[in-house]
């Protein structure tokens, strides 16, 4: 086999970002994508829509098949890369192939984090991070009455909601005092949790599973909680979070920390090898240090940046920005950037507006006259205008701050030059 100019390990959104990044620069050389899962690239968050029955499997694909043909991308699906030889610049797969590469992207994503819970080994304990998990739970939901979800973060809440939509009685356990503790504060969590409770889900915070109970045949009976309660259940879903799936890189001698370490061009410690997405530890826009931020948009953007650099351009990654948009039975929420600044740090200024009756909440977090984060519940329509201030790190003058606090940010608050460069570039003022 000839040397492949571009090889991508992984077939998720970082991989698609990379294909689109490469094609911005190089429209010719073939790209090879190797995916462990035996299905075309799908929108991973869509598995909750699938499990809930809101969409059918025909809507899962992120790009039409013709995208791959037009982009000159070949795929090897259901194929796992077993080793990377960084010196010889080759990879070897479980199908016995050895492929020589010029540029390699590791976009292997995350794997579910499973804490050691006694009794977790055995039948009817599941994760919810890929299509196979969703398919398993869809067929399982037909036979069961009850499910316990361990973890009240994004994955756990969506798993719980989707099972509930399939007619299952669901209890979600969250160890911290509130759901979505990273993206939300108390007010946002209370509104979202309230909405779930109203619909009929059981959400229990400040408590988690101590032990999973099985009978002598190993069948799942229920869950012992840390507060002493016992919940009968037929299924347990462990959804504590994901950790970078970096063992392939680590075993190949590529530097890892919490994730695969990359420089500001998404390059790893090995020559010609890049990493992007949930597996990578990359620059954070607001904090400036390197972090693993397993969020969809970052994965695409990192892949896109890596792709351009793989194709020979010199592009710096602008930095990850944490952002989540999640709806709870018609109650939309959006959270961007720093939403829970460290307590006692006087450099932050927080402005909130809460209307419990209307289920509406807005929290703006300023630092040194810059907006560094926000949470919106209910009325989310102006979200993008807030995102602009966080992302472009524009200073917020006092009058603009007032307007923002009133829920009315707009483009006319932008610095004039930036406004013109963005909206009316190349325009010459006439006399």
């Amino acid at each position: 086999m000839a040397i492949m100019k571009y090889v991508i390990i992984g077939n998720g959104i970082a991989s698609i970002g990379a294909i689109e990044g490469i094609r911005k620069v190089d429209t010719e050389n073939e790209i090879l994508v190797i995916g462990a899962e035996d299905s075309p690239a799908y929108g991973r968050p869509l598995i909750s829509y699938l499990l809930a029955g809101k969409i059918g499997p025909e809507r899962l694909a992120l790009r039409p098949q013709e995208f791959y043909e037009k982009s000159n991308v070949s795929t090897k699906l259901g194929t796992t890369v077993e080793a990377i030889d960084t010196k010889a610049k080759t990879i070897s797969t479980d199908k016995g192939e050895t492929i020589e590469f010029e540029n390699l992207l590791i976009a292997t994503g995350g794997i579910p984090f499973t804490p050691p819970i006694p009794g977790a080994e055995g039948s009817d304990v599941y994760n919810f991070t890929n299509l196979a998990h969703a398919q398993t739970l869809i067929s399982k939901a037909k036979e069961i009455k009850r499910a316990v979800v361990i973890g009240g973060g994004l994955i756990g809440l969506k798993a719980g909601e989707s099972l509930f939509d399939r007619g299952v009685d669901v209890t979600i356990l969250e160890l911290s005092p509130r759901i979505l503790s990273l993206a939300f504060d108390e007010n946002a969590a209370a509104l979202a949790g309230g909405r779930l409770a109203e619909v009929g889900l059981n959400v229990r915070c400040g408590v988690t599973a101590k032990e999973i109970q099985r009978d002598s045949d190993g069948n799942l009976k229920g869950v012992h909680l840390t507060d002493g309660d016992f919940l009968q259940t037929e299924v347990v879903v462990i959804a504590i979070g994901v950790v970078p799936n970096y063992s392939l890189a680590k075993d190949s001698g590529i530097s890892v920390d919490r994730g695969i370490k990359v420089d500001d061009h998404m390059k790893t410690s090995a020559d010609g090898v890049f990493a992007a997405g949930d597996v990578a530890q990359a620059k954070d826009l607001l904090f400036g240090d390197d972090r693993v931020i397993p969020i969809w948009t970052n994965a695409y953007n990192q892949g896109f940046c890596a792709g351009k650099n793989m194709a020979g351009t010199d592009i710096e990654f602008t930095g990850s920005l944490a952002m989540n948009s999640i709806s709870f039975y018609g109650l939309p929420t959006i959270s961007v950037g720093t939403v829970n600044p460290p307590e006692g740090d006087d450099s932050f200024e927080i402005a909130t507006s809460l209307d419990e009756k209307k289920k509406s909440y807005r929290k703006l977090v300023f630092q040194n006259d810059h907006l560094v984060g926000y949470v919106l519940v209910g009325d989310i329509d102006m979200a993008g205008m807030y995102t602009a201030f966080v992302k472009f790190q524009m200073a917020v003058p006092e009058d603009a701050k007032k307007q923002m606090m009133a829920g009315e940010p707009d483009v006319l608050m932008w610095p004039d030059d930036f406004f013109k460069d963005t909206w009316n570039p190349g325009h010459v003022e006439q006399d």
Partner: protein, 148 residues
């Protein structure tokens, strides 16, 4: 590619672009029917939005960015770039109404459809002969559709 460029020096905040946008995307193609009936019944709404501050105003919509944040954020494959035309295309059938694009677009150019779990976004009046309706309707040439 040609894009719509708004000029706040010329905009008079008349909102005619919003009405033209609604009409162009209506079933009836009639301003009065679009505004009085389809707006309420079908949630017909404008892709354009006029912002005002004192005497300054500007009408904005999707910029059809070269590297759009909305496409990066889209979880369903409902938004993508057309490599040939450069347009940022929206596939309504694929959209699941997660509002990720609305959150990610720093230009505030994406809105929720008022009644359906879908978004409303400028398509540059792809179906319309003569280009974007908003530009055609602007009485003070504050909107320009051109190559820059």
């Amino acid at each position: 590619m040609k894009r719509v460029y708004p000029d706040k020096e010329y905009c008079i905040g008349c909102h005619l672009c919003e009405l033209a946008c609604m009409t162009a995307h209506s079933k009836s193609q009639d301003l009065i029917v679009a505004y009085r009936e389809e707006r309420g019944k079908d949630g017909l709404s404008s892709c354009k939005k006029v912002f005002e501050k004192g005497h300054t105003c500007v009408a904005i919509s999707c910029r059809h960015c070269d590297e759009p944040s909305c496409v990066a954020a889209c979880i369903s494959g409902g938004l993508h770039k057309d490599p040939e035309t450069g347009h940022t295309l929206y596939d309504r059938e694929k959209c699941v109404g997660c509002w990720s694009c609305l959150m990610a677009c720093p230009y505030g150019a994406i809105r929720r459809h008022p009644t359906e779990g879908k978004i409303v976004k400028c398509d540059l009046c792809a179906e319309r002969e003569g280009g974007p309706a908003c530009v055609a309707a602007c009485p003070n040439a504050a909107l320009k559709y051109e190559e820059r």
